[in-house]
């Protein structure tokens, strides 16, 4: 924010928007558009809906941000969410106390991340291929353990994680904010965050400067897995069932949100605040287009176009930098 006011005062004619300002303007523009088009859009109830609806996307995107920053990618996220959600669900229906089932599910999610990290760092398969393999393998595993059937029949308390409120705020939204704050602190207030950025900028130089790059990579993939399991818990509560085919293709939406937020797909560049804005732009679009009852096919066209326009504006204004 500081940077933006500085540049504007410096030269009144030549605007130098940074990515976050452009995204903020896009978000405000979209909100104004929907508010004009529908009287029910800008109401407290609907804003709560939006925050709750973006929670899954936001939580997974927080992990994906770090993965992209180190120059990797995690395509297994959506499969991991479905997997952990089903694991928790099956354990609960098997009579295991819910809190133990949830812990086991979280461990399973982190374990998947660890396997991704091990393959990338030790075997040396590129992250794109590693996690693509994991995407398919994990989805298959989820179908195998459930036989393709949804898991259901939980105590009412499970709904709390998806549909509950604390002090009038939806629980998924609280969890999302906590995740963003946690990732913010990790990225900008600790040395690990500096290592993450350094690693994405230049892996070899970072390694030679004495940083244990493999350790940092492992940590990032495990965190991605951890956030997936948290998302899995929210999904379990939200749907009150474990759906083996939930969120198929959702990894693309996550990558879209993160890239829309200005994170470079080659690592090292991008800010978490941009990703938060990217997540909300996609969430507001999805919600507003439904409220206007616009056909799904047009929704797909519009969502894709917004991505290209937002990233395109940034490219044009900041071309000189490159």
């Amino acid at each position: 924010m500081k940077a933006e006011t500085k540049t504007e005062t410096k030269s009144s004619f030549q605007f130098k928007f940074n990515q976050e300002v452009i995204l903020l303007l896009v978000l405000i523009g979209v909100i104004i558009f929907f508010s004009i088009m529908s009287p029910t859009f800008l109401t407290g109830g609907n804003l709560i809906n939006i925050i709750r609806q973006v929670a899954l996307l936001g939580i997974i995107a927080a992990g994906m941000t770090m993965v992209l920053l180190i120059g990797g990618i995690d395509l297994s996220v959506a499969s991991n969410v479905a997997f952990t959600s089903v694991v928790m669900g099956m354990l609960i229906t098997a009579g295991i106390p819910p809190w133990i089932a949830i812990i086991v599910g979280i461990i399973a999610g982190v374990f998947v991340g660890a396997v991704n990290g091990l393959i990338v760092t030790r075997v040396g398969i590129p992250a794109l291929i590693t996690t693509l393999g994991m995407l398919t393998m994990l989805r298959g595993t989820t179908f195998v353990i459930t036989g393709g059937y949804p898991v259901f029949g939980f105590p009412e308390s499970i709904r709390f994680f998806g549909n509950g409120y604390l002090l009038g705020i939806p629980v998924p939204a609280i969890i999302m904010v906590a995740v963003f704050v946690g990732v913010y602190i990790l990225l900008y207030k600790t040395y690990i965050g500096r290592h993450i950025y350094a690693l994405g900028g230049n892996l070899e130089a970072t390694r030679l400067s004495g940083i244990n790059t493999k350790k940092v990579q492992m940590l990032v993939y495990m965190l991605s897995g951890f956030f997936c399991s948290i998302a899995g818990l929210i999904l379990l509560g939200r749907l009150n069932s474990g759906q083996p085919n939930a969120l198929q293709g959702f990894e693309l939406e996550v990558v879209t949100a993160v890239v829309l937020g200005g994170v470079s797909i080659f690592g090292g560049q991008g800010k978490l605040i941009g990703v938060v804005l990217g997540v909300f732009i996609l969430g507001v679009l999805a919600n507003g287009l439904v409220i206007l009852n616009i056909n799904e096919f047009y929704q797909m066209v519009i969502s894709g176009a917004v991505l290209l326009v937002a990233v395109g504006i940034d490219r044009i204004y900041n071309r000189k930098k490159d």
């Binding site: 059937y149 939200r238 009852n293």
Partner: protein, 336 residues
């Protein structure tokens, strides 16, 4: 140079995935009503040939085995065919027309005795079906009719929608004097499912002609349907019901309606497929009121019966329509 190459490969892979994701939304399908034969199903899917020599083989390709309806259908066909001495090779094309064509060609190469197809796209697989016919292999079409197939077995998509719409229309007539706004969860990406939606709307209007469709959005899975339904309820606080082309979507609407504080005496949700979750929900006599049973077991029985008749050269019906049943609190005990 290197980075350019990387961009291209990423784009390639992402676009392939996008295509796959579009096809995989698991909706196309149909009824579920799963029972407890989960483990068995899994084994069956993987298994191809066990008692090889001399046994007669049948190839079966469905839409997507992540849909419980097809899990149940293929399991039942496998069991019933085994009683007649046939081994069933099951293919899961995951909604991809290309892999279905390959599967049919593989069946022809294996010289199976019959092929059962739930077509992903009737025009696209016509040539492959013709190849089978040319090789003298009878083809049975399930759900989607195929020009050159020997027989058709299936429930009418429009009829399925109608069965849900009629239940909903009667309820709206009784409770709301035939007035009010409803939301529809569609899956317009697939042609047959559009007919299902039309059936739902026509069924409602048969009893309550003044009902207004205030929202019509694509949502075939619980998570998408949850968001969409929240949007419906936000935009139309007075609406009286949400009806989906499958139970998966309707279950999302159900959770959203419960979350929005809707009451069961004035608000209704209904779907199609009779999946166990929907059966449970209807049994609780809450907001979830209706579903439609596509009778997968009856379908499997008819398929095997017709198949055996064709192979043996006996008389058989070319068109076999499977009757669908509305499920609501009046007959829910039969399903519990």
């Amino acid at each position: 140079m290197k980075s350019k190459y990387a961009i291209y490969s990423i784009l390639c892979i992402l676009s392939i995935m996008m295509l796959a994701a579009c096809g995989n939304n698991d909706v196309d399908g149909d009824a579920n009503q799963a029972e407890n034969n989960q483990e068995e199903t899994v084994e069956n899917n993987g298994e191809v040939a066990s008692d090889a020599e001399g046994s007669m083989k049948v190839g079966m390709t469905v839409l997507d085995l992540s849909n419980p309806f097809f899990v149940q259908l293929t399991t039942a066909v496998e069991e019933l065919a085994a009683e007649e001495g046939y081994e069933v090779i099951i293919n899961d094309p995951r909604d991809d027309v290309n892999s279905q064509i390959e599967a049919i060609q593989n069946f022809v190469a294996q010289d199976v005795d019959a092929i059962i197809v739930t077509a992903t796209d009737q025009n696209a697989i016509n040539d492959a079906v013709q190849e089978a016919k040319d090789a003298g292999i009878p083809v049975l079409a399930h759900t989607t009719k195929l020009e050159n197939a020997d027989a058709w077995i299936g429930a009418d998509e429009y009829g399925m929608g109608l069965a849900l719409g009629e239940q909903a229309g009667q309820w709206i007539k009784e409770v709301h004097d035939g007035q009010g706004g409803v939301g529809i969860l569609n899956f317009d990406q697939i042609e047959q499912v559009i007919q299902r939606k039309e059936g739902i709307i026509d069924g409602i209007r048969q009893y309550s002609p003044d009902v207004e469709v205030v929202g019509d959005q694509q949502a075939g899975d619980p998570n998408t349907a949850y968001d969409v339904s929240e949007g419906f309820l936000q935009a139309n606080p007075d609406m009286i019901g949400i009806f989906g082309i499958n139970d998966g979507g309707a279950l999302g609407a159900y959770n959203a309606a419960v979350g929005a504080g809707k009451e069961s005496d004035t608000f209704a949700v209904g779907g199609i497929d009779a999946v166990p979750e929907a059966i449970d929900a209807i049994g609780e006599e809450g907001i979830y009121k209706f579903t439609v049973d596509q009778q997968p077991i009856l379908t499997a029985e008819t398929i095997v019966e017709v198949m055996v008749a064709i192979i043996n050269g006996d008389d058989y019906e070319v068109e076999n329509e499977i009757e669908v049943r509305g499920v609501n609190e009046s007959n829910i005990e039969e399903y519990q």
